[in-house]
């Protein structure tokens, strides 16, 4: 549709901004880059809202159903007649919703960073990378085909790498960025193989064909076997591995906490609100495929989501670094979304899980970005991020305090904040599907409330700490972003989300399910209350409790030793038992054979030199025996003639 052609300028603006700030930024005043970046993202946001408005309210519906609109789709690379990669724009409810989320959060982060990053070396670089990231992320969500998604999937990966390693002089940042990239890359391998097998089975990359519930892709898939398993399930699980990597699902979550080495706005944008939900988005994008051809895969997804959410929440209760707590919280919340997709069905109320997941994605983006930005404001003020060393900040940072509280309430699922609504839907969906999952989710929600308020009390209440310099509230650019996001976190729950986003495009009436909501809110309140007791005032209760459960606490505190296992696998196994031997093999066997041939040649050469004894009579001997041998040979030849 003509009207949506304007959406096409979004990636162009962002890419131009990336190139400009990247190439010219270093030579201009730092602020020029900042303002260029912010301005371009502002335009992008405007266009996104415009697109969303046009899509949801004017052109998106055909009959009762939201349809997929492809304003344009250009051939980028052709493999054969059926397999080709297009670059295009696909608009449907979830991509438009993601446009809103990404542009909004990104704008806030751009704005916030103008203050937060001021005076840093490489300010232009920062904005350049931010533009690159936003460009890739937006292109990812509006992809028309799986391969385009993969392309930008990799690009967000690299932007994330660049931004985590922004402080490249710091070894820990370098290590963290490397880890993040490699872990996600490993997951992407699964994704890639998944795509390729899928394309082999279905002969297409295009989403419109792939996800058409009545289309050939879905019907063909189930009969094909791969390594003795149903190919479709294997494929979809492989794709899920890619999602799990990006979205930090267990056991591929290890990179996300380390990624907090990056500047805080980056954590807010990439590692809380947008990139890490790409996995969720991708599953949602391929949802019909999962539903109709990959029921087993979907079950796996549900359990991994559930487990991850509990697991991460547990770890979050013990961490001390405020950003890391938020990181684990992010993992846990994404676990919710994944789990919600896993328990969802297709169409009508069956599809509630899908809607809930997207809804939670939406609200979570707001409040988690807010949480991170608040944390950033705290760090900006006191240059510390260890929970033990801070406290009593409510006096110094009033705006931060209030907005942080709102975010905490939202994430804990206290009405009327946004998290309440989305979490309620998730729990409802889980309840309908599987009681075990529901129970786990409920407990996790309680733990969530506990650790969030542990954080909140720990920062703003608890002990009074003497700071070297009196902390000051952040500058206007930062607080503006905080306030806008806080408003978002507070009210977005009232959006009738199901009207816009649903599993099959048909609007879904949603309402609050009190039979679920009440226990959930109670659990959350219990969590908050426990946190209140433990952390409102400085006391030795936490220490007593932690020493009481001793070993368990230690295990959780060490994040269940997952990092150690990884280090063992990489350093211990790959380096020592694969690469080492490879090099050894190269040096000794392969080269050894070559050198051995040379050595043997020389040896033979040395041994036969005695034929050449210098004695002319010996020469005659050799010559005559040569003749005799030749005679024998000739007799032999003659006898065979």
């Amino acid at each position: 549709m003509e009207i949506f052609n304007i959406t096409g300028i979004i990636p162009i603006i962002l890419f131009a901004s990336f190139l400009f700030t990247g190439l010219a930024g270093g030579r201009l005043k730092p602020m020029v880059s900042g303002i260029t970046g912010t301005l371009s993202i502002f335009i992008v946001t405007a266009v996104s809202y415009y697109t969303a408005y046009k899509y949801f309210f004017e052109f998106g519906k055909a009959g009762n159903e939201y349809i997929k609109i492809i304003p344009f789709n250009l051939m980028w690379l052709q493999f054969n007649d059926t397999l080709f990669i297009n670059m295009g724009i696909l608009l449907d409810p979830i991509s438009v919703m993601m446009l809103i989320v990404i542009s909004t959060v990104s704008l806030m982060v751009h704005l916030y960073s103008l203050g937060y990053m001021k005076g840093e070396t490489g300010f232009a670089r920062f904005y350049s990378f931010l533009s690159l990231f936003t460009f890739s992320m937006i292109s990812l969500v509006i992809s028309t085909n799986l391969f385009q998604t993969y392309i930008f999937w990799e690009l967000v990966g690299i932007s994330s790498y660049l931004l985590i390693g922004y402080y490249y002089s710091k070894p820990s940042a370098v290590a963290a960025s490397k880890k993040a990239f490699i872990v996600t890359r490993f997951a992407d391998l699964g994704f890639l193989i998944g795509i390729l097998i899928l394309s082999y089975i279905t002969k297409t990359f295009e989403y419109t064909t792939l996800t058409d519930p009545n289309g050939s892709a879905i019907n063909q898939g189930s009969s094909v076997l791969f390594l003795g398993l149903s190919a479709m399930n294997v494929t979809l699980i492989l794709i899920f591995i890619g999602c799990a990597g990006k979205s930090a699902m267990f056991p591929l979550h290890i990179w996300l906490p380390d990624a907090m080495e990056g500047p805080t706005p980056v954590s807010a944008l990439i590692h809380a609100a947008t990139m890490v939900v790409a996995g969720v988005y991708l599953i949602a994008r391929l949802f019909p495929l999962y539903i109709f051809s990959g029921a087993d895969a979907l079950n796996v997804i549900a359990f991994i989501g559930t487990f991850t959410s509990l697991f991460a929440a547990l770890i979050a209760t013990t961490q001390m670094d405020i950003k890391r707590i938020l990181a684990f919280s992010t993992i846990s919340q994404i676990g919710f979304m994944i789990m919600s997709l896993g328990v969802s069905g297709y169409g009508d109320t069956n599809g509630l899980g899908f809607t809930a997941s997207m809804f939670h994605l939406f609200t979570h983006a707001m409040f988690k970005a807010l949480l991170f930005l608040c944390a950033g404001a705290v760090i900006h003020a006191i240059h510390l991020n260890n929970l033990n060393e801070m406290g009593g900040l409510r006096k110094y940072l009033p705006v931060t305090h209030i907005t942080f509280l709102i975010a905490c309430l939202a994430i804990s699922g206290i009405p009327p904040f946004s998290g309440f609504f989305s979490k309620d839907e998730i729990l409802t969906a889980a309840f309908a599907k599987n009681k075990l999952i529901f129970t786990t989710a409920l407990i996790t929600a309680g733990i969530t409330a506990f650790y969030m308020f542990r954080l909140y009390f720990g920062i703003f209440w608890n002990k009074e700490v003497k700071y070297d310099k009196t902390p000051h509230e952040a500058p206007k650019t930062m607080t503006t972003a905080l306030i806008i996001l806080a408003v978002g976190s507070a009210i977005t729950g009232f959006i009738p989300f199901g009207n816009f986003v649903s599993s099959n495009g048909v609007p879904l009436e949603s309402h609050i399910h009190f039979e679920i909501a009440i226990p959930a809110v109670i659990t959350a309140l219990v969590g908050i209350f426990v946190a209140y007791i433990f952390y409102k005032k400085e006391n030795n209760l936490p220490v007593r409790v932690s020493s009481a459960v001793g070993g368990l606490y230690g295990i959780i505190y060490r994040k269940f030793f997952i990092d150690e296992i990884y280090i063992f696998i990489t350093k211990g196994l790959i380096f020592r038992f694969i690469s080492g031997p490879v090099v050894w093999f190269d040096r000794h066997i392969v080269d050894g054979t070559m050198n051995g041939i040379a050595f043997i040649t020389n040896l033979v050469s040395e041994k036969i030199k005695y034929f050449q004894s210098g004695q002319v009579q010996q020469y005659a001997y050799v010559m005559l025996s040569g003749i005799i041998i030749i005679v024998i040979t000739v007799i032999y030849i003659l006898s065979n003639l």
């Binding site: 040649t601 020389n602 050799v622 030749i630 007799i635």
Partner: protein, 472 residues
């Protein structure tokens, strides 16, 4: 006998004339300076005549024959000897002890060449034998030319003893052949030779006699010692001209007299070829003395020649000719440099050549080109000739031989590169100082380089040889 018929022998006659003129000048005048230029001019004249004037016919009832192909062979030999004469100028003129004997040296060398020409022109075994001995005995004298050196005498001793023994065996073979066929004329034998045990024995004796001259393994052992001990220019004469002439006559014998034996000699040459290449290479790897090194390298090179005989095709014959033409250029190029260096400094060891490029650019580049040509590296000519030899073998289906041959070509590349490495890469505190070679040597090397570079690139040369060899 008319003048025309005599003109068939123009090459031999001219050569003998030159030899006599040289001898006369040598006796008549004490001023040795003019001797050399006069001889060179005459020799160039002879060589050019050889290219211009083609002859075709028989003399003495078939004892002597001349065909365009034989003419071409003689041309190759003439060119080679011309180069050698040019290269030996420095050694002869500048060294006092040699200076007196310029005339003798040239006389003997040219007589030997005349002997070779007679040999390849021969139409019967008597002429062949006479030519062979005329070619060999003078060389023995030249090998022992440096009277003051023990090594030279030792080389001479070894050479003459081995040569005499081998020619004795050869003769015995000829006598058996005569006994069984009643003729020593090639054209008679051509029809009457058949595969019997006795004749096969005769064939083997004759073959081994010639193989001795080509230094095929196991008849090669004299080669290295003689090459090392002889004066450089004689070594180059032995390794290229003498070898080439023997190959030519072998070619003629195999393709005419012993054509009925082709099954036997096909097989036999395969084994000899494999042995020769391999042993030659294995010995060459270890050598430090450059002359000895080139000796073994020439053995290894000789091992490639039988590839062209396989199948007994005229294309094969032309390939052998072509190979030898290029081999003469390349080998003489390498020996030419060694000759220049040896006559200027007396150094022959490979280590002495370390850092050679620093002081003597031109010489080391000539050396490198020659070695690359010997190794068969494009675009220099050696590549083409070797490639064609391989092609001949493959066309007959001898893949195993081909395989051994290419492996050996690679090994040979290794030791050729050792020399290149010494000249270009190795560092040396005191490299051989700058050598200014005389105009003769320069001319000689220039001819070599031109030959090395252009013989391959101009395919017409090969095609020309091929048209000649059709009527072998």
């Amino acid at each position: 006998m008319t003048i025309d018929q005599f003109l068939l022998m123009k090459n031999e006659i001219l050569l003998i004339a030159i030899a006599v003129i040289v001898l006369i000048i040598d006796l008549m005048t004490d001023n040795k300076k003019i001797l050399f230029p006069v001889m060179i001019i005459l020799f160039i004249f002879t060589t050019v005549i050889g290219f211009i004037y083609q002859t075709d016919g028989e003399l003495f009832g078939g004892m002597y024959r001349s065909t365009p192909l034989i003419n071409m062979m003689k041309n190759i030999l003439n060119t080679g000897v011309l180069i050698i004469l040019l290269q030996s100028a420095g050694w002869l003129i500048n060294k006092a002890e040699n200076h007196e004997n310029i005339g003798g040296f040239c006389f003997i060398l040219i007589s030997s060449l005349a002997g070779m020409c007679f040999m390849i022109s021969s139409g019967d075994f008597l002429m062949f034998y006479l030519g062979l001995e005329l070619a060999t005995i003078p060389i023995a004298a030249l090998v022992a030319y440096e009277k003051m050196k023990f090594l030279s005498a030792e080389a001479g001793t070894k050479f003459i003893l081995s040569a005499v023994l081998s020619s004795g065996i050869l003769l015995y073979g000829i006598s058996i052949l005569y006994g069984t066929n009643g003729s020593i004329l090639f054209k008679d034998l051509n029809n009457s030779v058949e595969i019997t045990n006795l004749q096969a024995l005769a064939f083997i004796f004759i073959l081994s006699g010639i193989a001795f001259k080509i230094s095929l393994v196991p008849f090669h052992l004299w080669t290295a010692d003689v090459y090392e001990g002889a004066p450089v220019n004689i070594t180059s004469f032995l390794s290229s001209i003498s070898k080439a002439a023997s190959v030519f006559i072998l070619l003629i014998l195999l393709f005419t007299v012993f054509i009925n034996f082709s099954e036997i000699w096909n097989e036999l040459l395969v084994y000899l070829s494999i042995l020769t290449m391999t042993i030659g290479n294995l010995f060459a790897i270890r050598q430090q003395n450059l002359k000895r090194f080139l000796a073994f390298s020439s053995i290894a090179q000789a091992g490639f020649i039988p590839l062209g005989f396989i199948g007994g095709t005229s294309l094969g014959a032309s390939t052998v000719l072509y190979f030898l033409l290029i081999y003469v250029f390349s080998n003489l190029g390498a020996f030419g440099v060694v000759s220049v260096v040896t006559s200027a400094t007396g150094k022959e060891s490979m280590n002495d050549y370390n850092g050679f490029y620093k002081t003597n650019r031109g010489l080391s580049i000539v050396m490198m080109l020659s070695l690359f040509s010997l190794a068969g590296i494009p675009p220099v000519a050696g590549f083409f000739s070797k490639f064609f030899l391989f092609t001949i073998a493959a066309k007959q289906g001898y893949y195993f031989l081909l395989f051994i041959a290419v492996i050996n070509a690679t090994i040979s590349l290794y030791y050729y590169l050792l020399v290149v490495k010494a000249m270009f890469i190795n560092e040396n505190e005191q490299p051989i100082e700058k050598i200014t070679s005389d105009v003769y040597a320069k001319l000689g090397l220039a001819i070599c380089v031109l030959g090395i570079v252009f013989t391959g690139l101009f395919g017409i040369i090969f095609d020309y040889i091929n048209t000649l060899s059709k009527g072998i």
